[in-house]
């Protein structure tokens, strides 16, 4: 479980997160939703320590991450995987080397063991035989899948995904959602997903946190999101023609 308690973050005069407290549960896909610019990415980057919070604490299973030094954080970092919005694959390395990279840095596994793990991860994301390709040779959907494979190569307990299906067609987006869902359940990870895609929300939203202008505005799950009387949330949920018709 990951817990954020009263975290605030500002950039200069711009107060981006206002006293946000939120819990993300183990074995579930925990979604953070909200408009563009509402602070989802900043919240996620605060959780994993890419941004330092101004105030508040972040706990990874009761370990206070926000108070740790760089070296103390290392242990938690080895337990977490992250899928960046643009994939962030190392473009000087092949797919195989990308996935192998955390293993090379942190384990003493032999080449054979590492290759086996790489193939296991590639299998999971349905990309057998992509080992020798470079990131520049992959399609958008493949990049996301390789990025997922790299994120899970160390068998993490915590998985963070920033807009895992932005820029993908609905069908491929659905495949990625399912993949995240299956991984979360199979390996009992605490998964946090940033999204503004209502399809994912309805499909995999075990818990949903709606961020509005830097504040936690609503919490719930996919069963309840369609019938609340929270105005800002309704504006967000029923913004597209498709969802309007559902109402």
């Amino acid at each position: 479980m990951i817990e954020a308690k009263n975290i605030s973050k500002s950039f200069g005069d711009n107060l981006v997160l206002k006293n946000v407290s939120v819990k993300f549960e183990k074995g579930k896909s925990n979604l953070i939703i909200g408009q563009s610019g509402s602070g989802k990415t900043v919240l996620m980057k605060c959780l994993i320590g890419l941004f330092e919070v101004d105030k508040g604490n972040i706990y990874f299973d009761d370990r206070d991450f926000s108070q740790m030094s760089f070296n103390e954080r290392k242990n938690i970092r080895k337990e977490l995987g992250m899928l960046f919005q643009g994939g962030a694959l190392f473009d000087s390395m092949t797919v195989e080397d990308n996935i192998m990279f955390p293993l090379t840095m942190y384990t003493d596994q032999t080449m054979e063991e590492k290759k086996e793990r790489v193939n296991f991860c590639l299998d999971w994301v349905n990309l057998e035989n992509a080992n020798r390709l470079y990131p520049a040779e992959l399609s958008g959907g493949m990049i996301k899948r390789v990025a997922i494979a790299r994120a899970i190569s160390m068998n993490p307990q915590y998985l963070f995904c920033d807009e895992p299906n932005s820029g993908l067609d609905p069908q491929t987006a659905g495949v990625i959602d399912e993949l995240i869902q299956r991984l979360t359940q199979e390996f009992q990870m605490t998964t946090v997903v940033n999204t503004h895609d209502m399809n994912s929300v309805i499909k995999i939203g075990d818990t949903i946190s709606f961020i509005y202008k830097g504040e936690l505005w609503w919490e719930g799950d996919k069963e309840h999101i369609m019938d609340t009387d929270n105005k800002e949330l309704n504006d967000f949920v029923f913004a597209t023609e498709l969802t309007k018709r559902l109402k």
Binding site: R77, K78, F84, D91
Partner: protein, 244 residues
């Protein structure tokens, strides 16, 4: 600008650490020696030959008194090549070639979140990306400079062969006379400092990029400009320290 210098020092403090995994570092080091050093051999050789040749012709042109022996030409070429042309001019050329390469490579990694990806894995990204480049340059640039000296002297020799300004015999005598090994030491010291300046400044410029492709381009220009300015400044300081 002062705060920028502060963040430069702060970053260098994180760069100069023991690498996380020595085996990986060794591999990176070899790759960077190739990328930064071996790949610069061609341009170093060409520039050095022409430099040596020009110095030889200019010196011959300036000697108009029969009282000055023609061996002065070889002597002058050797001194200027070792003291100034090879270490400083070649380092300036490398600042352009290597500096822009480093800044744009690291800058691109920054804007595509590859550096964030390293950070969240718990890797000291500044050390991982910049340290191999700094240490590779410190190792390989002195080699390049020594090679450059060789080609510079060869340039003067070619002038002796292809013109009748002076003979190869005079030239060789000049090159061999009053040689002090200390000048080589001085040149190598300079080169090492310049190598550190080029790689660390360019690494810094790339590492702190914010934005996109335009900013990466701007960073790579800044890297070249600042490395060059610092080379010229440190050239003066080191010369004052080591030669006076």
């Amino acid at each position: 600008m002062i705060s920028r210098f502060g963040s430069y020092l702060f970053l260098m403090f994180k760069v100069f650490r023991k690498p996380d995994k020595l085996r990986v570092y060794r591999k990176q080091l070899i790759l960077e020696i190739y990328n930064l050093g071996i790949e610069s051999l061609g341009i170093t050789a060409i520039i050095s030959i022409f430099m040596g040749a020009v110095v030889a012709i200019q010196t011959a042109y300036n000697i108009d008194s029969p009282l000055i022996p023609l061996s002065m030409i070889g002597f002058t070429v050797r001194q200027s090549v070792i003291l100034e042309f090879s270490p400083t001019i070649i380092s300036l050329i490398l600042a352009g070639k290597v500096g822009s390469r480093i800044a744009s490579e690291i800058g691109t990694m920054r804007v595509t979140e590859q550096i964030d990806a390293l950070d969240i894995m718990g890797i000291n990204s500044s050390n991982f990306l910049i340290f191999p480049k700094v240490s590779a340059a410190i190792l390989i640039n002195p080699v390049l400079i020594i090679i450059s000296m060789g080609f510079g002297l060869m340039g003067g020799y070619f002038v002796a062969i292809f013109t009748n300004l002076f003979s190869t015999h005079d030239y060789i005598i000049g090159v061999k006379s009053w040689f002090e090994a200390y000048t080589i030491f001085y040149a190598i010291m300079k080169t090492i400092v310049f190598a550190m300046l080029i790689t660390s400044i360019s690494g810094f410029e790339g590492y702190v990029v914010k934005g996109g492709a335009v900013e990466v381009g701007a960073a790579s220009t800044r890297a070249v400009v600042w490395s060059s300015i610092m080379i010229i400044l440190f050239n003066l300081i080191l010369t004052q320290l080591l030669l006076s």
